[in-house]
Amino acid sequence: MKELFPMKQVNGFIFSLLLTVIALSVYFLDMSFSVAMTILLVTAFIQAGVQLILFMHAGESEDKSSIYTTTFYAISIALFTVFGSLLAMIWGYMF
């Protein structure tokens, strides 16, 4: 039975629950917008990293450089799209 529950996976699971609890603090505690957003950004991206590396085994195969490059490309373009659009559609009209 024990070999079915490897430490790596169990720890990862506990860690992701922990991150969720930390993220939840922005709901239950009273804090400023920027602090809360920082907490959310940090926990969400760590959480994504945990899934990517620990659970999805992104780095285990011979194609790990292709996989990391693809993911990196996608994330950077995604971030540019999100913030570029906010600039184009909202912030660009504010000052």
């Binding site: 559609m89 909202i90 912030w91 660009g92 009209y93 504010m94 000052f95």
Partner: protein
């Protein structure tokens, strides 16, 4: 081959002669904003011509010198490895040009987005220009008059056109006075300009807006301040006031001639700005009450 080149050059001379008669609208500016833009256009044409000439010169040299028909049969072109100096030049040259044009772009963009240079001390005349299918309505809140499909402006005074639309996105354009700006249904955009000489100018909607788009034009007339004041006075004496019913009638799709009214439609159909804006990115001051969104 020679024939073809002769033909080509003939055609180009034709094109130049045909168009050379009178200056193109955009390159014949009558106000400071359009002049800035015309200057930027000339600068960029000049810069780009340099590049084009260099490319053409290299291309023609290469084509003449290294044609297979000019070389002996046993000539074997060498394998040439890239040279860091050459690479540096072909990278550095475009970089320099782009830096130069980048500076031109940024400075001129800031310039055309504010009150025209030299007019900062004057109070701008504010005119609301709204489009509907396929007409332009001009409201002068200060003078309390409204016109359709034509606009009179005083010369040598900064003008702020406040643009919005009753329908599809349109683009407000008076080539000889300033570049375009979009007019949209749920926000107001601002176009700054000034006319330096009295005269009549072409204005139109440049953004495709459906069936009647081609005829979606208006006339712009720049008058001296005195003539302008007389014109306003004249309207107040002769024109009928605009009513809500009449305005709604005007909004129906179609084309109208030039019309003149006293009063403005802004009283009963306010522009989508401030509390009437649909886009929540109107003014910075509005920031605190995000949740106040009204519709129109």
């Amino acid at each position: 081959m020679k024939l073809k080149w002769a033909f080509l050059s003939l055609v180009f001379t034709m094109a130049i002669v045909l168009t050379g008669c009178e200056p193109l609208l955009v390159l014949n500016p009558q106000g400071p904003q359009a002049e800035t833009q015309a200057n930027v256009i000339w600068i960029s044409i000049a810069t780009m011509s340099v590049i084009l000439i260099i490319v053409l010169a290299i291309l023609i040299t290469v084509l003449i010198k290294y044609r297979a028909s000019k070389q002996s049969d046993d000539y074997e072109p060498p394998h040439i490895k890239s040279n860091p100096i050459v690479e540096g030049i072909i990278i550095g040259f475009p970089v320099l040009i782009i830096i130069f044009l980048g500076i031109v772009s940024v400075s001129s963009t800031y310039k055309v987005e504010t009150t025209p240079e030299g007019y900062e001390d004057q109070e701008p005349l504010i005119i609301y220009a709204s489009s509907s299918n396929w007409k332009w309505h001009f409201s002068y809140p200060e003078e309390d008059i409204e016109t359709v499909n034509y606009v009179f402006i005083p010369e040598d005074r900064p003008i702020e056109f406040k643009l919005y639309s009753y329908g599809p996105i349109t683009s407000f354009w008076i080539p000889q006075l300033a570049g375009q700006k979009y007019a949209m249904a749920d926000m107001v955009t601002t176009l700054h300009l000034a006319a330096e000489n009295p005269g009549e100018y072409m204005g139109r909607n440049a953004n495709f807006s459906g069936e009647g788009f081609a005829e979606n034009k208006f006339d712009v007339t720049a008058l001296t301040q005195k003539e302008f004041d007389e014109w306003v006075e004249d309207i107040h004496q002769t024109a009928e006031p605009i009513t809500e019913d009449e305005f709604n009638e005007l909004l129906k799709p179609g084309h109208l001639g030039k019309l003149t009214f006293t009063g403005t439609h802004l009283d009963f159909s306010p522009a989508p700005e401030g509390e009437h804006a649909g886009h929540n990115h109107g003014d910075a001051s509005e920031q605190e009450d995000h949740s106040e969104h009204s519709n129109h």
